[in-house]
């Protein structure tokens, strides 16, 4: 009798005063303290709103040109020019381009491509990488060997070269024409970066596989799929989220480079195209015309620079949040 009372007493004494902090709430607590990362999230949220509300924000149609009214190479609003057709006016805040399209409206619509091209390949990349990494790491043996040799080959391929040749190869095929070439870009950009995820996941799985809780799960009769989904995947998510946050700006930069080389987004004349242009294509157009209209170049370069900067802040914040040991104090 006395013994049970002591046990009850002990239970009461050792009971947690508050619920245990999970990895997630812990990470969120640390992430919240990182001001730069929060600023990055705010900026991306702002861009997401801009992308969705583009038709209401943009003062003009991004594809339609009205040369008689807009003039070609009109300067940005605050720049005066002796030629009345080229002097700045707030009707065209960042001026107009070589065929009289409003640069600001194009910039607003360009947000859509950058965000979509950053996130969609990231989802593909992480799914492929996780599938291959989990299979290789969990099954081990010959499967592991074959899959990892395959990733080695992909890893050795210089990514930008593969991107270029992929784009050139399929640009004029039917798949290259879907959504102004966006679908092909998704495929191209997903082709290489899954390797990093696969290697990382495999490493994590190998580290977790031998832990006691996996053994315990097997002992109570969980099958392979249950073990992977319930016990292994949750333990690998932290590093994957960090890597995913760095994949997004990488894809955005690659899209900009491909469009700059003229093999990314296809130019369109359709007035209702949802993805009429991208910042990379605008940099290409701007770099040809910067002497007559510098803001055609400056605006998209600043846009690309700020979005990649925001994602770097978020990536750094996530890394510090999920892996405090790695932290750059």
């Amino acid at each position: 009798m006395a013994a049970t009372a002591t046990v009850r007493q002990l239970d009461r004494d050792l009971a947690l005063r508050r619920p245990p902090r999970s990895l997630w709430s812990d990470a969120w607590r640390r992430f919240r303290k990182n001001r730069l990362a929060l600023a990055g999230v705010a900026y991306i949220a702002f861009l997401a709103v801009v992308a969705v509300a583009a038709p209401w924000i943009a003062p003009h149609n991004p594809v339609q040109s009205d040369v008689a009214r807009a003039g070609v190479f009109r300067q940005a609003a605050w720049i005066r020019d002796p030629n009345p057709m080229r002097t700045g006016t707030w009707e065209y805040p960042l001026g107009t381009d070589s065929v009289g399209r409003d640069v600001f409206s194009r910039l607003v619509y360009g947000t859509r491509v950058s965000l979509v091209v950053g996130f969609v390949p990231m989802v593909f990349t992480v799914s492929i990488g996780m599938a291959i990494g989990l299979t290789a790491g969990y099954l081990g043996g010959r499967v592991d060997n074959i899959l990892m040799r395959f990733t080695d080959v992909v890893y050795a391929f210089p990514d930008l070269l593969l991107f270029i040749i992929m784009q050139v190869a399929f640009q004029d095929a039917w798949i290259g024409k879907l959504l102004n070439g966006l679908v092909l870009l998704f495929i191209t950009l997903s082709l290489v970066s899954w390797v990093t995820v696969a290697r990382l996941v495999r490493g994590e799985v190998l580290a977790v596989k031998g832990k006691e809780f996996v053994e315990a799960a097997r002992a109570i009769g969980a099958n392979g799929l249950q073990i992977v989904v319930r016990h292994i995947v949750p333990n690998t998510l932290g590093p994957i989220i960090v890597v995913a946050a760095y994949i997004v700006p990488g894809a955005i930069i690659s899209e900009a480079i491909l469009s700059y080389l003229g093999i990314g987004i296809r130019p369109t004349v359709r007035l209702d195209a949802p993805f009429p242009t991208s910042w990379g294509s605008m940099i290409l157009e701007g770099s040809k015309a910067w002497e007559s209209q510098p803001w055609m170049l400056i605006a998209p370069t600043l846009a690309v620079a700020s979005i990649t900067l925001a994602f770097t802040f978020i990536g750094d914040g996530l890394r510090d949040a999920f892996d405090p040991r790695q932290r750059e104090r």
Binding site: R149, D152, V153, Y155, A156, F157, P158, D159, L160, L161, L162, I164, I165, M166, V168, A169, F170, Q171, D172, A173, P249, I253, A256, I257, Y260, L261, I283, S287, W290, P294, L297, I298, T301, V304, A305, T308, L309, F311, T312, F313, D316, Q326, E328, R329
Partner: protein
């Protein structure tokens, strides 16, 4: 142990290069158009003669029609039939590759071989890469070291700011802006004439530095974080307790350990420089390998595309070997 590891990794290059060759070959032939396309249509006879001269009239992968023809002619030797079966563009290329012959460049109408073009263009690319690497190492590592030694001082904030900007802003964006700044504000001509690239000239400065910025920032971040890790180690405290001079503690005890990580990533960092170079070469109009690649793609110069891709792939693969080997050599705690 280490030697056998290196040998194994180097032998592994062969299947990697083979796979890269096959994938590139396949993708290249998916692209519409051919090396002889011009503004005005080329006469059929000329086209046929050109194709015949360079073996482009052969099938891309395998040649079963040739086997059938030989068979009907009464050829029964299986080896000869196999040779006829493999008489295709792909296997001809592999055969040439095994002799380190990358074939004639189609754009030059066969007057110059791909390896001689690469040999001619490579020094220019290498020089841009050298300037970039030198800039990255000479600026990046000290910035990281001083940032860590004087943590939370102004130099630390400067180095962190520069590093974050440099890592996140793509080099081609900076390149485009530098071209404008140079010409608008300083009146310097950013796009140089072809002859100005001979030898070492000031022409290499701008593209080299722009190319090196990303790597420099990466090295700064890496050096800083690994220095911060080392500073708190017991052996550093021991060294100080022994009464060693601060200089000796920093150079002999801290740097030696902190730079392990840096030396390790130097391989892939340099490879990234080399492969990242062609966008910079396009912006600054540098007559190097990278621009040659972009031009070759547009001209469907098949052999040139293959040659450049293989060269870049070799760089990346060697850089990956470098990482694994360096881990083993520099840090005795890690066994390869």
């Amino acid at each position: 142990m280490l030697l056998s590891f290196i040998v194994r990794r180097v032998l592994w290059l062969i299947p990697v290069i083979l796979a890269v060759t096959t994938i590139t070959f396949f993708l290249m032939h998916q692209a519409p158009g051919g090396p002889w396309d011009r503004e005005k249509p080329v006469a059929a006879a000329t086209l046929q003669a050109l194709n015949q001269k360079f073996g482009l009239d052969k099938p891309v992968w395998v040649n079963p029609t040739e086997v059938r023809r030989r068979w009907e002619q009464g050829e029964r030797n299986p080896l000869r039939l196999l040779a006829a079966f493999l008489d295709s563009q792909y296997f001809r290329y592999l055969w040439g590759l095994s002799h380190l012959d990358l074939g004639p460049s189609y754009r030059s109408k066969g007057t110059e071989s791909v390896q001689s073009i690469l040999w001619r263009k490579f020094p220019t690319t290498a020089k841009v890469g050298l300037v970039a690497t030198a800039f990255a190492v000479v600026v990046g590592i000290p910035l990281g070291v001083f940032g860590a030694l004087k943590q939370n001082s102004w130099i630390d904030y400067v180095s962190l700011t520069v590093a974050t900007l440099g890592v996140s802003i793509p080099s081609f964006v900076i390149g485009v802006l530098v071209v404008i700044l140079l010409s608008q504000l300083f009146g310097v001509k950013p796009i140089r004439e072809p002859e100005e690239w001979q030898g070492f000239s000031t022409a290499y400065l701008a593209p080299g530095i722009v190319l090196g910025l990303g790597t420099m920032s990466y090295l700064t971040r890496l050096t800083r974080s690994s220095m911060l890790e080392v500073i708190r180690q017991d052996y550093v405290r021991t060294a100080r307790a022994k009464g060693l001079s601060e200089w000796r503690v920093v150079t002999r005890h801290m740097l030696r350990n902190a730079l392990i990580a840096v030396v390790t990533v130097l391989g892939p960092a340099v490879a990234a420089l080399v492969t990242g170079s062609f966008i910079i070469e396009t912006i600054f109009n540098v007559p190097g390998m990278g621009r040659e690649y972009v031009v070759a793609i547009a001209a469907r110069d098949y052999s040139m595309i293959m040659g450049t891709t293989l060269m870049y792939a070799l760089f990346v693969a060697v850089a990956n070997i470098w990482v694994d080997v360096m881990y083993g050599v520099l840090d005795p705690r890690i066994r390869v």
